[in-house]
Amino acid sequence: MTNKPTANEKIRVLVAKPGLDGHDRGAKVIARALRDAGFEVVYTGLHQTPEMVVRAAIDEDVHVVGLSILSGAHNALVPEIVDGLKKEGLDDALILVGGIIPDEDFEPLKKAGAHLIFTPGASLQEIVDAIKTNAPKRA
């Protein structure tokens, strides 16, 4: 996570909605804000299985995977997705989780490989800045 993207490399971000949760207001607002901030954004659409999210991340060769989960299923979904990404060799991607995440789940999610967690009230600028600072640089 120490390598920064070069100025001429556009950061590619996957915004994903894993699980059965249909709350996509946040995911769509953030996808638009990231695009407006100059990132290349792919949005998976709803009701994705962990395998579908991993496949999309690999196909698009993204620098950042943003997972939006508001249904409480994060503890089951996040580890599966992170493991899948590692297995497929995308082990440097910045993993962001956004949604209704109780405080007590922060630690387990970070252990499972989530780098940053955003909860209600987080500003778009905060998220944009976090990506600019932490997205991996690839040769």
Partner: protein, 561 residues
């Protein structure tokens, strides 16, 4: 003086006032540049009879009396003086037995009707043991995979003596047949089965996004329940046409109302296409609106909603039964307005919103709990939310009088504006061929996404304020609040329960019942009778939904944003 003379005098006086106002504003300038509602409608400093004069306001035509056409002032003649609104708190989490306990707590504390929240797998037509359900079982609502769960959910509650609301859409027809089956087993006569099924699939494609089948067959399942209910369960509201989720997804107040009413019109059109008489089903259509932070905008929305619907039913569809003209509505305070920061402030937001719903003449109300942006609510938080309604009803005095804002220059003008803009949207949707066609081309979805983004930008620019989030932020946030935690053991227990059920039931009867469901679906028959038979054989929710998926196919949405 004649009316014309009075108006000319008022105009002249108003010009004078504006000059004096300009002097005052030199010394005390307006705080922001623009004064707007939450939905970004410009708000004037004040309204006068001139505003209503220019809009052609006519008391008898536009307001009339409560309980009478066009129902602007409410659907009951004496409104809350006769019967208070129904206090109905939405509840559901973990297992059926756990939720049954919460139901009984609420009933013991003065709640008047039940309202059921289902978990994500149930909403999507999956059983707890499906791989798709992993991590989701019992999290956002109660897990119901078969009639066995439904029996536990309502154990010890007299279904003949209570109204029940069930918030489910994609597989609503299956859940409704399960509810009817529980009532039947308990010997409750059909006419005493009262309540409301949400069953509004169009708003799923628009906003809530819990769908199973493609749009057209899914809408026909809704019409099946309306048709079957009209004949067999005369006091059950088979559909609750919902703006709540549309608003929560980011729509403005006008978009919420317009898309909701346009959804209602689409169901009406499909019923008429089957040859049903408008007055045979329209009285059982009910509505569900959001009630957000902007007090006046919300009151105006409820008033306009009733007037627009009444006129459409009477003028466009020639309904004759006054009950067909009435827009009866449930309301829920705006979940999206709650903040994780300084969460106790949410109690105040909910109180303001609840007051607006009552001023707007809602028929039923759910008040959100202060902790709902963090988790499902605790018993304590739910009780404060219920008590908020009771304080409004019993202490504030607002329930003594009908439509107290009626005749306010500002409120009438705002109500007219909401009506006008709502009708503009309805006209555009009509031109697209109605809401089914509009949904298929993604029109309301895109409008809502634009509004959501616009609002978020306004928040970031502090043009809109959320206390504790972008203003009056506390450096040291004391966010700690006891919240309800659903552990994953419920998932394992549900899976075991389904396995045991599948061993115990009559496998041959289940197979035959599912075959009958498939045959009727292929033949395009009303699906209620065969699904009713299948649930009584303990066919599971997913078995029935998968059978239907096999016939209708599944829906998926392009990932546009």
């Amino acid at each position: 003086m004649s009316d014309a003379q009075e108006i000319a005098k008022l105009k002249a006086e108003l010009e004078g006032f504006k000059k004096r106002l300009a002097e005052t504003e030199k010394k005390v300038p307006p705080r922001p540049e623009r004064f707007t509602t939450l939905s970004d409608m410009e708000v004037p400093l004040l309204s006068t009879p001139l505003d209503l004069e220019s809009e052609g306001f006519d008391y008898l035509r536009d307001l009339g009396f409560p309980g009478e056409y066009p129902f602007t002032r409410g659907v009951q003649r004496n409104m809350y003086r006769g019967k208070l609104w129904t206090m109905r708190q939405f509840a559901g989490f973990s297992s059926a037995a756990e939720t049954n306990k919460r139901f009984k707590l609420l009933l013991a504390n003065g709640q008047m009707g039940l309202s059921t929240a289902f978990d994500m797998p149930t909403l999507m037509g999956y059983d707890a043991d499906s791989p798709r359900s992993k991590g989701e079982v019992g999290k956002c609502g109660v897990a119901v995979s078969s009639l066995e769960d439904m029996e536990e959910l309502f154990a010890g509650i007299d279904l003949g003596n209570i109204t029940t609301s069930m918030t489910i859409n994609g597989p609503a027809i299956v859940i409704l047949m399960m509810y009817y089956a529980v009532a039947e087993k308990n010997g409750v006569p059909r006419e005493k089965v009262r309540g409301t099924l949400q069953n509004d699939i169009l708003k799923e494609y628009i906003a809530q996004k819990e769908w199973l089948f493609p749009v057209k067959p899914a809408v026909e399942l809704v019409i099946d329940t309306i048709e079957y209910g009209a004949k067999n369960y005369p006091n059950w509201n088979t559909v609750s046409i919902s703006g709540y989720h549309i608003r929560e997804a980011g729509a403005t107040a006008v978009q919420e109302l317009a898309f909701t009413l346009a959804d209602g019109l689409a169901y009406v059109e499909r019923c008429l296409a089957r040859g049903m008489d408008i007055d045979s089903f329209a009285p059982r259509l009910s509505f569900f609106l959001d009630v957000h932070n902007d007090f006046f905008e919300e009151v105006a929305k409820f008033r306009a909603a009733r007037r627009v619907w009444a006129r459409l039913m009477k003028e466009r569809y020639k309904a004759k039964d006054p009950k067909s003209w009435m827009l009866r509505t449930h309301a829920q305070t705006a979940g999206v307005s709650l903040t994780a920061q300084q969460p106790y402030n949410n109690i105040v937001r909910v109180a303001v919103q609840a007051l607006a719903a009552v001023m707007g003449g809602t028929n039923s109300l759910h008040t959100n709990s202060m902790d709902e942006t963090l988790a499902l609510p605790t018993d304590e938080a739910v009780m404060i939310a219920l008590r908020t309604q009771q304080v409004i009803a019993e202490e504030s005095g607002v329930a003594n009088v009908v439509d107290p804002f009626g005749g306010s220059y500002f409120m009438e003008s705002l109500t007219n504006r909401v009506e006008r803009e709502t009708l503009d949207y309805i006209r555009r949707i009509d031109e697209m061929g109605g809401m089914i066609a509009a949904v298929e081309r993604g029109f309301p979805q895109a409008e809502i996404a634009n509004s959501a983004y616009h609002f978020q930008r306004q928040l970031e620019a502090k043009e809109k304020v959320m206390v504790g989030v972008n203003k009056f932020v506390e450096a040291e946030e004391k966010r700690k609040m006891e919240t309800l935690y659903i552990d994953r053991s419920i998932e394992k227990r549900q899976i075991e329960k389904i396995a045991a059920l599948k061993k115990r039931r009559n496998a041959d009867a289940v197979r035959k019942a599912l075959d009958a469901v498939r045959e009727d679906a292929k033949a395009g028959k009303n699906m209620c009778p065969t699904i009713f038979a299948a649930v009584k054989e303990y066919a599971t929710l997913q078995e029935i939904c998968d059978t239907l998926r096999g016939v209708y196919g599944v829906y998926s949405e392009a990932g546009s944003f």
